[in-house]
Subunit: 347 residues, 2 copies
């Protein structure tokens, strides 16, 4: 049971350390943690945000616990050397094509969202975002037009098998929930979306119990404000998923608690908090490690089938929250270590 | 003073009729209204959503009052024959490159938004969306890969002059407001965005009094939920603007009141309510025409410099709202004609 630990930049280091303490406290037989560098940290040590050694470590493990990448001091670097390339590279190289982003309001934390409580409390949705295709991984570049103007360009595309694969993930997730799948696209403008929609309709035939609907992305952004409770599972492409999953997370109000999973076709997965590297509070012991601790729980469940242990972690976090342990992001005073201690004490 | 009136599909017909009554009641010297078909209506009559006659009418006028396009019965048509092509075609053919989408919460209507009142009441932002470029107008298609898979593709791009033009619109708008401009992109992934950002920074030198900031689109979608009051002017590309402007509109809660302007480099412009064709309530006299009436006010102000008349319309609408006249979209009972009458009575 080998787990790669890639803490990365900024608060990634601190929050991952607490999640590691929690994993170690479970005394899992055969648990082996292997550390690797990613992001700006890796660039400074090895000259690349995702060095080959790190990728080798990942390939030798059954799952990755990931902190965060992002470092403004790398902004001047060429694109392929920037910290973000670490996460993009891991997703692509390891075939992590399905990003699962659940959003529900935690009991007792309804007051943290900017939505009215009666709207927020109904949120119980899962965004399934495709991670290996779209305009993220198409050809791109800067060219000079014939008349000498600079032009930036990026190719957006999806092939049918890429759509089919994520469609199955979406339908299966819906089968385990309320059986409603909303596919989000921009088929009134994009050919990429038209193919996306066509394939969704084809795959739907294999899941007659799931009710499939289609929504344009602009309308989806509106509906997430107007009535987020209407959604069960949303399936969408890489770019729209990036935007909508962050919007949905913020609707929940407690971004320091949200974990996410990026899964391959096997049981392999990468687990990370959805918050970023937060350079403004990095190194100060202020970051809330709960989202990373909950990511570790997801890791045990999805990649190693350890449902009991995952639930133990989740209930320890819920108890700590119930006892009023709150990080600064939740309007409280508890520091990183203190929150880690509180969760450990309730394991 | 020729104004083209393109009512279009669904409720477009009803709401535009009320705005026309308001325009006519002002007894503007030389006002001439010229009617044309767009959208599904135009396809059924002329075989095209934007027939050449309609484009000719537009070109002979100083401004366009637009209703809405969209008709599900056209969903099976080839892309270039669908109703949406009318609005896309008008934008492109007439060089309507700048979409201005103001969002503020109307006094007395704070209870309509799903955001907490203390968050919503601070909203006072303007989204400046580029309308002539991006993945909307790049080459696109459906192809078969070498190994026989279908692939949908769309080219995203921006050339520097396109970015520069909309940057100036954004900076000028900020100069007339609180002098804060937030440029939204995805420069950590897209080359198109990297050029966008570079050009924004170049143009910023001409507006030293404006504070320019940059935000990734996923973060912008979050910040619009967390604290929309932080924004003054947001400038962004066609695709991100489509999503964020709809999200921001819904934050305001009263989408039946929001007007928008799509402007060319001259005084020419197209003015439309931001709501769509709402086929579910079309023809029933239920639609709220206020957004279209307010679009007519914007038209008088921006394209004909008739500030007094624009303000007269706006204050008549505000009075009607103050007197409790509310359409179904605002939780009231007033029908289309009744609202039109109420505004006319207060002109
Ligand atoms: C860091 C960035 C490249 C990344 C993305 O856009 O996918 C991030 O926003 C995310 O959602 O994980
Ligand atoms: C109808 C559609 C093509 C259009 C767009 O995406 O621009 C609409 O959503 C809008 O924002 O005006």
């Amino acid at each position: 049971m080998r787990v790669a630990v890639f803490a990365g930049d900024g608060i990634g280091q601190e929050v991952t350390a607490e999640a590691v303490r929690v994993l170690e406290a479970l005394d899992l037989p055969g648990l082996e943690l292997v550390y690797g560098d990613v992001g700006g940290v890796a660039y400074r040590k090895h000259g690349h945000p995702l060095p080959p050694e790190t990728l080798d470590i990942a390939r030798s493990c059954g799952a990755i616990l990931f902190g965060a990448v992002g470092d403004f001091s790398c902004d001047h670097l060429e694109r392929h050397l920037r910290p973000e390339q670490a996460i993009l590279g891991l997703r692509k190289e390891l075939g992590l094509f399905a990003n699962l982003r659940p959003a529900t309001v935690f009991k007792g934390l309804e007051d943290l969202t900017t939505l009215r409580p009666e709207v927020a409390e109904k949120i119980d949705l899962l965004i399934v975002r495709e991670l290996n295709g779209d305009v993220y991984f198409g050809e791109k570049g800067l060219r000079t037009t014939q008349d000498g103007r600079r032009e930036g360009w990026d190719m957006m595309s999806y092939a049918e098998d890429e759509v089919r694969r994520i469609a199955h993930t979406g339908f299966k997730a819906a089968m385990g929930r309320r059986r409603k799948l909303c596919s989000v696209d921009k088929a009134n403008v994009l050919e990429t979306s038209q193919l996306w929609r066509d394939v969704m309709i084809e795959v739907a035939k294999e899941y007659p119990q799931v009710e499939l609907s289609h929504m344009y992305v602009d309308n989806a952004a509106m509906q997430l404000v107007k009535n987020p409770g209407q959604f069960d599972v949303i399936v969408t492409g890489n770019l729209f998923g990036d935007i909508l999953s962050d919007q949905a997370s913020m609707c929940v109000g407690s971004i320091g608690l949200l974990a996410s999973a990026s899964l391959a076709e096997s049981t392999f997965g990468l687990y990370e908090p959805i918050h970023g590297s937060a350079p403004d509070i990095a190194g100060k012991g202020l970051a809330n490690p709960m989202a990373t601790i909950l990511s570790a729980a997801m890791l045990l469940r999805h990649s190693f089938g350890l449902e009991t242990e995952a639930a133990r972690i989740e209930s320890a976090v819920a108890k700590a929250l119930g006892d009023g342990i709150r990080g600064g992001d939740l309007g409280g005073q508890a520091g990183t270590r203190e929150i880690g201690d509180a969760v450990l004490a309730r394991l």
